[in-house]
């Protein structure tokens, strides 16, 4: 029975997840579809935080890649007129990948608060730079035209639906790849780093390389998340790289835990829903209601929502 709910085969699980998401998408009202698109794209960034969290590292600057992805695609859309979401995503991947390849090896030597602060400062440097650049709209940012899909120019609900479908495909594929990575030797080593870094080194692996690779994987997820958010919102501004934005991703990661990948996207959706409704029903105290919700979740599920999803899996492993 658990086999059925949690198929061991990753491609099968992905196909199932995609099918469910597509069917759900067809019946969702417009506002919920948009909320889901946003939650999933932010979930991608949070997934990056989760990747690093498995090795015991907290990146407080994942907004850096979120912002790079958003601006890379947004600027290309404005300057060259590219509006194809596939091409934009590719640009986002390349841009965030390049930056991560530069900083990854450097950051990989730091742990704990130093890693958190360095990632944070990198994203704040980008924030400061963008805020100063009036060519790029300064703090007000710039608008991004509606995305197209391989020559298809949808409008109205079709546009929202197409972007939702694209987002679902992206998260399922990337989620599948990350799951494969987690289950691979490299992924298990990342987990071991969390427990005892020294031992991992003695086993003959370079902890630095492992962390750098994980960092790049996380950055690319962030970049894609930024591209989709920018395209969905239709506007990018330096706020994408601000530390509160990064803090939100860390929160989603904590909310979800690092046991389950679907939990990350679920956590992101839950956060969006709570925020959206508390903002409407408690316009003056929505931050407080959001805070209370977060407190309750942390108290009830200290290991995150993912611990709920993976609980039934654990006895199997012991066999």
């Amino acid at each position: 029975m658990t086999e059925f709910i949690f198929p061991r085969s990753i491609p099968l699980a992905c196909a199932l997840a995609l099918a469910v998401l597509v069917v759900v998408g067809l019946i969702l009202p417009d506002w919920a579809m948009f909320l889901a698109t946003m939650a999933f794209s932010k979930g991608m960034v949070a997934l990056g935080v989760v990747c690093l969290m498995r090795s015991g590292l907290v990146s407080f600057g994942q907004g850096l890649y979120y912002c790079i992805g958003a601006y890379a695609s947004g600027l290309m859309a404005t300057w060259i007129g590219i509006s194809d979401i596939f091409l934009m995503s590719l640009l986002g991947i390349i841009a965030s990948g390049i930056v991560a390849v530069i900083f990854g090896p450097l950051l990989a030597t730091y742990r704990g608060i130093f890693f958190a602060m360095l990632t944070l400062s990198l994203s704040m440097i980008l924030y400061g730079t963008l805020s100063k650049m009036s060519v790029l709209g300064g703090t007000d940012g710039l608008n991004v035209s509606a995305p197209t899909f391989l020559g298809y120019h949808p409008e109205g609900r079709a546009l929202g639906l197409s972007l939702y479908m694209f987002t679902c495909a992206v998260i399922v594929v990337y989620g599948g790849l990350v799951r494969t990575l987690f289950d691979s030797e490299r992924g298990l080593i990342s987990l071991a780093i969390r427990d005892n870094e020294l031992r991992v080194e003695y086993l003959g692996t370079s902890v630095r390389t492992e962390i750098a690779v994980t960092y790049i994987v996380a950055a690319i997820a962030g970049g894609i998340g930024g591209v989709i958010s920018g395209a969905a919102i239709g506007h990018v501004d330096p706020e994408y790289a601000y530390w509160t934005t990064s803090g939100e991703f860390v929160f989603v990661a904590i909310l979800s835990g690092y046991f389950s990948i679907p939990a990350v996207f679920l956590g992101s959706v839950v956060l969006e829903i709570v925020r959206s409704f508390s903002n409407l029903y408690f316009p003056n105290t929505w931050q407080m209601s959001l805070g209370i919700f977060l407190l309750i979740v942390i108290l009830l599920f200290p290991k995150g929502l993912g611990s709920l999803l993976s609980r039934s899996k654990k006895p199997e492993k012991k066999q």
Binding site: S131, S134, I233, G234, D237, N279
Partner: protein, 443 residues
């Protein structure tokens, strides 16, 4: 389960079902009655740095006006019809804090989930740039009521989006005109503005206007502390050291209060003529801590400058607001009133054209384009951006504490007609300034 129990369960379920049906029915009736209401999403800062200065006073003013309008007959004609054309106004306030990304999401929720008939809001320029494309995509009638950036309609053109307040270029053009017309010595100027788009644009507009109107003026220094810095010791030292004739600032809110409180004791106001482009909104909080002789703008003929003009609408807003909240209204409620009154005019014009039905977004947009109406802040005319962007008259004055009443007053007020300080249609504000204000009509 015994048969008796089972029967009870059935009975209970049936009762519950009946109750549910009754409630659903009631909701159905409610929906029918909803024809008589006009739902407006009102988005402004209810938390964060801009709440106390702009968001809360604006929402207070808005709530007050909506109550007055729903009562009907309180406002003078043509605003004497209850609500909007007889429909009761239902406001849904939304907090603007959280950045443009969040605002786009909230905007979609208002339109697609709450099915509002119009959205009125946005103080932050970033939000004002992000919302219009979405508004057009969703075909949702939207009024931007406060934000300053000229970029909205200079760089884009939208069908369903309108701004019922003049953009920020007017504020600094008026300040420069005041310097010129009152012969204020301005051989050297210095600036302290927040380091973000608003501060940077304000300073650029002021310097450009001065270079046209007071060509001898030389820029000594331009300081850009970061927004919400709160501490200006270093900047004040720098300003005192350069000892410029005029110090320009577009600071607002807590930043402006902090600056005035810190600069006052150090004598900056005696050494230099300080000009605050949007300074009126801190006057109630600062009281006599605001020095005399400071040149103050209010982003329109708002607050004390409008009170001095004493139109019946201004007096109504002034007295109702003072009675309700115990403080006199500054620019934010004035701007909210001109937005809501504009919406009222648009709704009623559209209803006159369509035979008294609740207007659609298309009908509202058609009615609003090129519209003009009287507000407590003077005549609002939608003439820029193909009839989507308002111009309005402006006023600049100088502070003077009145010991007798224990209140801050404005003296030497100069009024500028809308065409004197706003560019003509089709011309970008900054180009208009650089070209020396061609076509400006001043009274």
């Amino acid at each position: 389960m015994s048969s008796e129990n089972w029967k009870n369960t059935v009975k209970k379920t049936a009762t519950k079902f009946a109750a549910a049906v009754a409630i659903t029915g009631a909701i159905g009736v409610g929906a029918a009655a909803a024809q008589e209401t006009f739902k407006v999403g009102i988005v402004t800062f209810l938390s964060g740095g801009a709440a106390e200065s702009f968001g809360i006073p604006a929402w207070n003013g808005g709530e007050l006006l909506i109550n007055l309008l729903n009562q009907g007959g309180v406002l003078p004609p043509p605003y004497d019809q209850p609500g909007f054309g007889g429909m009761m106004i239902e406001a849904i306030p939304v907090d603007e804090s959280g950045g443009a990304t969040k605002q786009v999401q909230e905007f979609r929720n208002l339109v697609q989930r709450e099915n509002v008939d119009a959205v009125l809001g946005y103080v932050s320029s970033g939000d004002c740039l992000a919302i219009p494309p979405v508004a057009d995509e969703l075909k949702a009638f939207t009024i931007l009521y406060d934000c300053g950036t000229p970029r909205v309609f200079e760089e884009g053109s939208y069908e369903y989006v309108f701004r019922t307040a003049a953009h920020a270029a007017m504020d600094n053009i008026s300040l420069a005109r005041y310097m010129e017309s009152r012969g204020i010595e301005a051989n050297t100027i210095a600036g302290i503005n927040q380091d973000y788009a608003w501060g940077q644009d304000s300073w650029a507009d002021f310097v450009a206007s001065m270079s046209v109107l007071v060509p001898d003026a030389e820029v000594e220094t331009a300081l850009f502390p970061k927004i919400f810095a709160g501490q200006y010791g270093t900047e004040i030292s720098a300003l005192i050291r350069v000892n410029a004739d005029v110090v320009h600032s577009s600071l607002w809110g807590g930043d402006l209060q902090a600056f005035v409180l810190q600069a006052g004791p150090r004598g900056l106001f005696e050494r230099s003529q300080v000009a605050l482009a949007a300074g009126d909104h801190v006057m109630p909080q600062l009281g006599n801590k605001m020095p005399d002789g400071v040149i103050i703008g209010a982003r329109g003929m708002n607050g004390l400058a409008a009170r001095a003009n004493a139109s019946p609408l201004t007096n109504l807003l002034w007295e109702a607001y003072e009675e309700e909240y115990g403080v006199f209204p500054v620019q934010a409620p004035f701007r909210m009133w001109q937005g809501i009154l504009g919406l009222k005019v648009a709704v009623e014009t559209a209803m006159a054209a369509n035979g008294g039905n609740k207007p659609t977004a298309e009908e509202l947009a058609a009615a609003m384009t090129g519209q003009e109406w009287e507000a407590p802040s003077g005549l609002i005319q939608m003439v820029l951006g193909n009839g989507h962007q308002a111009i309005q008259p402006n006023a600049i004055g100088t502070t003077k504490w009145d010991d007798a009443t224990g209140q801050m007053t404005l003296v030497d007020i100069e009024y500028y007609s809308a065409t004197c300080v706003n560019p003509p249609a089709g011309v970008k504000a900054i180009d208009w300034i650089h070209d020396g204000f061609p076509g400006a009509v001043c009274d």
